[in-house]
């Protein structure tokens, strides 16, 4: 099945504020979208609408393919060592003792460290490791570069590029510049209501 993600005429309302409206785009396999804009403009809400976790105020989203999401919510047990916390999701995603790409994200040395002791950047990398393990064709990344050092940023950009080369889709919401060759750039400020 070919991955596909398309949004038609999306509008998002939070409370009594209309955050954006009239937003449409379509992604074919290999495409990437960079959602840009200042804090509070609705990037995270858009990501959650695309994931199906939030109902749009109007418009619709068409998805073909499984969705993978990383955002500021880590969804790992804070008290468990990182290895065990990730192992739950690995089992759920049907992997057994598989940690194929962890080294790319340099997490092997942290497997015995309880999740609550991890730094911001390490937590981001842990969330990405889970995404790599699950290997969904559509990636939704909410501020993936927050708290990452220069080397880790390059790794993330490389992983996204590899992911797209494999015929998958990446949507990246980031207020910072991200290297996404050939990506559509959606500046949410243009759609603000």
């Amino acid at each position: 099945m070919q991955a596909r993600l398309a949004a038609t005429d999306l509008a998002c309302r939070r409370g009594d504020r209309l955050l954006f409206r009239g937003l449409s785009f379509a992604c074919a396999p290999g495409d990437a979208v960079h959602i840009a804009g200042a804090n509070g403009i609705g990037k995270s809400s858009l990501i959650r609408i695309l994931a199906g976790l939030l109902r749009p105020f109007s418009g619709e989203v068409v998805r073909a393919g499984k969705i993978g999401l990383t955002d500021e919510r880590l969804a790992l047990d804070e008290n468990l060592p990182l290895g065990k916390a990730l192992a739950f999701w690995e089992r759920l995603d049907g992997l057994r003792n598989a940690r194929p790409r962890d080294d790319v994200l340099q997490l092997n040395a942290l497997r015995d460290v309880p999740v609550r002791f991890l730094s911001t950047g390490q937590r981001k990398r842990a969330a990405l490791a889970r995404l790599l393990n699950a290997a969904p064709p559509i990636w939704l990344l909410d501020e993936p570069l927050n708290g990452l050092d220069e080397q880790a940023r390059k790794t993330v950009e490389k992983l996204v590029a590899e992911h797209r080369a494999g015929g998958a889709i990446a949507v990246v919401a980031s207020h910072q510049p991200v290297v996404l060759p050939g990506a559509q750039i959606i500046d949410l400020a243009e759609y603000a209501a």
Binding site: G52, L53, K66, I67, L69, D77, E78, L92, R130
Partner: protein, 217 residues
């Protein structure tokens, strides 16, 4: 997939796990049974007559203690979001949570009922009725607890509110479960079981809907 989730939920909720209340509800339960004779005096007849009801009230209040972390932590951490994206509905996630919650608190509570009954000087027959009643009633208490915990998970100060909301909802279980002590009639126990099963059937849907509503909020 559901087995994997159930294993995680149990690991979190059993005493010693990070998401449960540990042995605190049990100690609370035993403390009530221990304090009651001090409060009403050492009249053995009075204790034997009212002790069963006290155990029921203590069990109900002890069931409130684990609710604080039952759903709120995972909701906050986005666990249900990630489960949803993997195709697991909130209803299944809540059904697993319900079973894990019951297993983590009811069997130990039933065990603790034996020393509690001894402290209150209950007869063998009364103790049996209390145990059977609790066995029939605790799934219902767990179901009410889970629904309320899910409803209040996204609210500030939700834990205190959860405690208040559980009490009126648990009254039917208490009436029939503890009522079996007054009349030697198996009908009351059967009704308690029926109420419990009904609540268990509804709880995953109510709690699942609450999780979805919290996501939109």
């Amino acid at each position: 997939m559901i087995a994997t989730l159930l294993r995680r939920d149990l690991g979190r909720l059993l005493p010693g796990g990070p998401g449960g209340a540990g042995v605190l509800p049990l100690l609370f339960f035993l403390a009530v049974a221990m304090l009651y004779p001090f409060a009403v005096g050492p009249d053995a007849q009075l204790l034997a007559r009212t002790g069963g009801g006290v155990i029921w009230v203590a069990a109900l209040l002890a069931a409130i203690l684990p609710l604080e972390k039952l759903v709120a932590d995972d909701l906050e951490a986005g666990v249900f979001d990630q489960l949803y994206l993997r195709g697991m509905s909130e209803e299944w996630a809540m059904a697993s949570r319900l079973l894990a919650h019951w297993l983590a608190f009811a069997p130990l509570l039933l065990l603790a009922t034996l020393p509690a009954a001894a402290l209150l000087g209950l007869s063998g027959e009364t103790t049996r009725t209390v145990l059977l009643g609790l066995l029939a009633g605790t799934p219902g208490l767990a179901a009410v607890g889970l629904s309320v915990a899910a409803l209040t998970a996204s609210l500030r100060g939700g834990a205190a509110l959860a405690g208040l909301m559980v009490i009126p909802l648990a009254v039917p279980i208490l009436i029939f479960g503890a009522g079996a002590l007054a009349r030697p009639d198996p009908g009351a126990l059967l009704l308690t079981g029926a109420i419990s099963l009904g609540l268990c059937a509804v709880a995953p849907f109510a709690a699942g809907a609450a999780i979805r509503a919290a996501r939109e909020g």
